[in-house]
């Protein structure tokens, strides 16, 4: 296998695995703030037990996020040295800002959140919880800034020529607030809230079906249903806004998302389909005529640029982008449905009697996780063949000093180690959930 393929596989694998955890931390962080806030307001014991339980789960998830995240911080240098030289002036600033503004905040207050129950007063503890949640969101801010700059570079100029060329910043704020930052940040953060909310929904639904921990489980479902309902709607609007921005800033990506090959007026929107890239057609598809034009321009007759406008070497792979995008959107609508069905049952006071609905909730934890991964596949594969859109090709961005065997070796080791970690993580998570809030919050699980 060649170096480029291996380097891309390694990055995709390590980032996909890492990205199982941060959305959970960010979403759960917000929910912890609500739970502990409820405890301080109502002084009801079970809110505190609930907070303590979810803090323990949070710590486990956070630990996995740290362990797999440290790899990402250095992988640009190890595997993408040419890229690092090209963008260091810009991309590096965002990573450094993340360290200074987010990681220190998170890790400092995490210590109080997890170990400080008896060391500080309730208000200080609550403040720490807020700071951890804020820190995890700040981290998303800077990573999205860095990634958005790769999608829609702004606030820079190119210095030097050929292999010596590199991007240098001309305006820090134009770089930070590049055309896609805000859309992508809001879309990512609401996805994180969904991920956290459906995680709590899933575990709480399990307790209700097992007829245990009822106070905590019912409160957990109510809190996270509200978050889920709001976030799922926010997800729809931010997703729409992101797609509109993509159509202006990265038209080739949008064309791939909808398999729109020829520029045409009244472009259709596919509900599903299978793209035959050779013949440039969509098989087994169902389309709504004019809908794509309407969604982008508010006019079903408007012209939408097709993939064939771009030279062949500048087009992204189509079917994988199309499928990821469509399944993600489908899951998004499914999550809206589940959230509002729950709100409806709650209003009719039947929420905790609907066994089939609770079973759906248990499995719905997978929905946001799968959608997160697919959303990133859409964004990153849709950006190909560029690593920095329109400026630097992925194939030119590799480390010259690293050969294919070295990457293969590290990729195999990452595969084995991450598989092991994943199994142990699921085992420990399952164990904690089975033990339950009452047992976990009040006794140390660490006694032999």
């Amino acid at each position: 296998m060649d170096t480029e393929l291996l380097a891309r596989l390694q990055f995709a694998f390590t980032i996909a695995f890492h990205y199982l955890f941060p959305p959970l931390s960010i979403g759960l962080g917000l929910l912890l703030v609500i739970m502990e806030g409820m405890y301080l307001k109502t002084k009801r014991e079970y809110f505190q037990t609930m907070t303590k339980f979810w803090v323990k789960i949070f710590a486990l998830i956070f630990g996995m996020g740290v362990a797999t995240g440290i790899v990402m911080e250095f992988e640009f240098g190890t595997n993408w040295a040419t890229y690092s030289r090209y963008v260091g002036d810009i991309f590096g600033s965002a990573l450094a800002a993340e360290g200074i503004f987010a990681f220190f905040l998170e890790s400092g207050f995490l210590a109080i959140l997890v170990f400080g129950w008896n060391k500080v007063g309730p208000k200080m503890h609550f403040f720490s919880t807020i700071m951890v949640a804020l820190g995890s969101m700040m981290s998303a801010v800077w990573i999205i800034v860095a990634n958005s700059w790769q999608q829609t570079p702004a606030g820079f100029h190119i210095v030097g020529e050929g292999l010596q060329a590199r991007a240098e910043v001309t305006s820090f704020w134009e770089m930070v607030l590049n055309p896609s930052t805000l859309d992508r940040l809001s879309h990512t953060l609401s996805a994180c809230f969904l991920t956290g909310a459906f995680f709590v929904l899933s575990v709480s639904a399990y307790y209700i079906l097992k007829n245990r921990e009822l106070d905590i489980a019912k409160a957990g479902i109510k809190i996270s249903l509200i978050v889920a309902a709001l976030a799922s709607l926010l997800q729809l609007t931010t997703g729409h806004q992101s797609a509109v921005t993509v159509s202006h800033t990265q038209p080739a990506k949008l064309a791939a998302m909808e398999a729109h090959f020829n520029t045409s007026k009244s472009a259709p929107l596919y509900l599903f389909g299978w793209v035959n890239e050779e013949n440039q057609e969509v098989n087994f598809g169902l389309q709504i005529p004019g809908m794509l034009s309407y969604l982008i321009y508010g006019d079903s007759d408007a012209e939408v640029t097709g993939l064939n406008e771009f030279p062949e070497e500048d087009r992204p792979p189509v079917n994988i982008v199309f499928q990821s995008y469509h399944i993600m959107v489908g899951i998004g609508f499914g999550l809206i449905l589940i959230s509002f069905l729950g709100i409806y049952f709650w209003w009719r006071k039947k929420l905790f009697d609907k066994k089939w609905y609770l079973i759906i909730l248990i499995f719905s934890v997978l929905g946001p996780q799968i959608a997160n991964q697919l959303g990133w596949i859409t964004a990153e594969v849709g950006r190909q063949p560029w690593i920095v859109y329109g400026l630097l090709r992925t194939s030119d961005a590799l480390s010259k000093a690293v050969d294919a065997n070295q990457i293969l070796f590290s990729l195999i080791l990452f595969g084995i180690i991450y598989l092991l970690l994943f199994i142990l993580f699921i085992y420990l998570l399952n164990d904690k959930i089975k033990a339950g809030p009452q047992k976990l919050a009040h006794s140390s699980s660490t006694e032999e």
Partner: protein
């Protein structure tokens, strides 16, 4: 040699400070990890683990931020070194991963085998991380084969030489001494007797390594002391460093662990200061041709980025110091195990 106090120099110093902060803070928890297997009972191991429990993660942030700052301020160094040291660096990352999850996972299950295995993973990873960092430092002193295209083509075994291994072992010894003092500070009773016993042995171990490394550097890499000839005040820094090291057994003898810890932190800082003064203005020296060395000028980002980053640092650093100091203050004193402990 010219010395101008410009943005590039400021960033050379700031990255040095971040890495020194990392070495002082993560240094003691790596040291505790390296010594950890010397305790036998589960309770003692939990006490040691919880002595670093609330802080190890924050300590590691210094490394992550140092890496980010290096990427931002000196992208050429970030790119050349991390791709050039590829395999060694991947091993370091595996060490960091295993160490983090070992701390997090170990006490979550009561089983003997479960805990024993994570204990080993934690301790070996701690030693490996310290050793590899020392090897990296040793390679920077010795110079690495950076070619005209600013890439270095060298195998893992090309990085392992007697000198770099010596610096690796010295780093392990330094962190062990630092960690032993920390452990004695945070424990009481029988365990404190045991950890205090480690201190004396580790001081001797470190002193031997320190003298050997210093001699080896003077003999094989005399250019490291060129600036000491040009700027005599640097000699006083070296003397100060020796005094800081010599002060450690003195404070221990009087039972003043905190002061001993402070002395050992100061000596880590001074050692890195001497190292930085020795390599300046190179960041990574080329062993092929000095012309190809990466310096704080030819490897740097634009002046505007260095300025933007300086503003970010000036805004951020007071917060960072405030968090760090508060956390150490809140978790001061001897370790007491409770329901939130590891």
């Amino acid at each position: 040699m010219e010395f101008t106090f410009d943005l590039n120099t400021i960033w050379f110093i700031l990255i040095g400070v971040l890495l020194a902060g990392y070495a002082i803070l993560d240094g003691f928890d790596l040291g505790v990890g390296s010594l950890y297997l010397l305790t036998k009972s589960d309770k003692d191991r939990r006490v040691l683990l919880n002595s670093i429990g609330p802080v190890w993660d924050g300590n590691e942030v210094w490394l992550v931020t140092g890496g980010g700052a290096l990427f931002a301020a000196f992208p050429e160094v970030y790119a050349t070194v991390f791709s050039g040291f590829y395999t060694a660096f991947i091993l370091l990352l595996f060490g960091l991963i295993f160490r983090a999850v070992a701390i997090e996972f170990r006490s979550k299950q009561p089983g003997r085998i479960w805990r024993r295995n994570w204990d080993w993973a934690f301790s070996i990873a701690s030693i490996l991380i310290a050793f590899l960092m020392g090897v990296a430092l040793g390679n920077i002193v010795a110079g690495v084969p950076i070619a005209e295209d600013r890439e270095m083509y060298v195998s893992l075994f090309g990085l392992i030489t007697p000198y770099t291994v010596l610096v690796g072992i010295t780093t392990v010894a330094l962190f062990i001494m630092h960690g032993a003092i920390y452990a004695a500070m945070k424990t009481e009773g029988e365990l404190q007797k045991q950890t205090s016993g480690w201190i004396n042995n580790s001081i001797i171990f470190f002193a031997i390594c320190y003298v050997t490394t210093t001699m080896a550097t003077l003999i094989y890499f005399p250019d490291m002391v060129q600036h000491f000839i040009d700027f005599p005040f640097l000699f006083f820094v070296a003397v100060l460093n020796m005094l800081a090291i010599a002060n450690i057994p003195r404070e221990i003898h009087h039972g003043r662990h905190f002061r001993a810890f402070f002395s050992s932190a100061a000596s880590i800082f001074l050692l890195l200061f001497i190292f930085a003064a020795g390599i300046f203005p190179n960041i990574v020296k080329s062993s092929i041709d000095p012309q190809y060395s990466l310096t704080l000028y030819n490897a740097a980002s634009s002046q505007q980025t260095l300025m933007n980053m300086l503003i970010i640092a000036i805004i951020g650093i007071p917060f960072v110091l405030a968090y760090t100091i508060s956390i150490y203050w809140i978790f001061r004193g001897k370790v007491k195990l409770d329901s939130s402990s590891y």
